[in-house]
């Protein structure tokens, strides 16, 4: 990353941009992992302090994001108040699989109609709240993967490095986390459709 490269070269003009970028990203990750805004800000500051204190140990600027998040993950882990969110457990594919039903001569999956859902550019505050809630319901091991892969948009390799997991485990957990979020949103959509139908009747 260019900011890290400039900081390694002693360019003070990159300092504030680096702080702004990583403070916001780490705080968002921590907020969704720990559940407290105050904790998120504190963890972000503590992370940046550790990052700058050991900046001379950063060898590859291209690896800076994984390095920063690994420090954040460890701080977050030490502080985390267990049982704030869902207890730790495994998610199985079977519990995330939708059921089938017969519709006349054909079979169909029992899922909501997603066609009316806004695209990512038009996400409403209601959907934002719903998504945050769905993410918080995930067990920690799955939540950390989906935060890094889908919100921070890290690669599988980077995520594996931050969380100290194999890439295969990252892929497995990511898929199950995504399916779990999809399932929660699907229930929300189905409940909304049911309310709308009852309202019409």
């Amino acid at each position: 990353m260019d900011l890290a490269r400039r900081l390694m070269a002693g360019d003070v003009s990159a300092f504030d941009s680096f702080v702004d970028v990583f403070r916001a990203r780490v705080a968002h990750y921590t907020y969704l992992m720990c559940g407290q805004r105050e904790d998120a800000e504190e963890v972000a500051q503590e992370t940046l302090l550790k990052v700058f204190q050991s900046f001379d140990q950063l060898r590859d600027p291209a690896n800076v994001r994984a390095w920063v998040f690994r420090i954040a993950k460890n701080i977050c882990h030490m502080r985390r108040r267990r049982s704030v969110f869902a207890p730790e457990r495994e998610l199985s594919l079977d519990e995330l699989r939708p059921s089938w039903s017969q519709d006349g001569d054909s079979r169909k999956l029992d899922i909501a109609d997603w066609s009316e859902l806004p695209d990512r550019a038009a996400i409403s505050s209601e959907w934002s709240r719903m998504l945050h809630s769905a993410i918080r319901e995930l067990p920690d091991a799955y939540r950390s993967v989906v935060l890094l892969r889908d919100i921070e948009e890290m690669s599988t390799r980077e995520t594996a490095e931050v969380l100290e997991l194999s890439e295969d485990v990252v892929k497995t957990r990511l898929h199950r986390a995504r399916l779990a979020i999809r399932q929660i949103l699907d229930r929300h959509l189905q409940a909304g459709a049911k309310r709308a139908t009852e309202g019409v009747v």
Partner: protein
């Protein structure tokens, strides 16, 4: 199409959407999906769910960083990069 095929594909959908599977397997999944309306609907719901998560990036702005904290961070960086004690 059989439910067995749908079930096997169900387990690989994230890797398919992320293009992290070999091209021949990707083609095989696409051939199945083209002919399977339930899978089309499910893949679309998963794709939209992922897109919504990605849209959360950048939410929750923070208050300005206190100046004392900024100074502490700047001092730490300077000490580290210059080797000053």
């Amino acid at each position: 199409m059989t439910r067995q095929e749908c079930s096997e594909i169900f387990a690989m959908l994230s890797e398919y959407l992320d293009r992290e599977i070999p091209p021949d397997l990707c083609d095989e999944i696409e051939r199945h999906i083209e002919d399977c309306p339930p899978c089309v609907a499910f893949v679309e719901s998963l794709r939209k769910s992922i897109a919504l998560c990605k849209a959360l990036k950048g939410e929750a702005p923070l208050p300005p960083l206190p100046e004392a904290v900024r100074t502490q961070l700047l001092d730490a960086w300077r000490k580290s990069t210059t080797g000053a004690q």
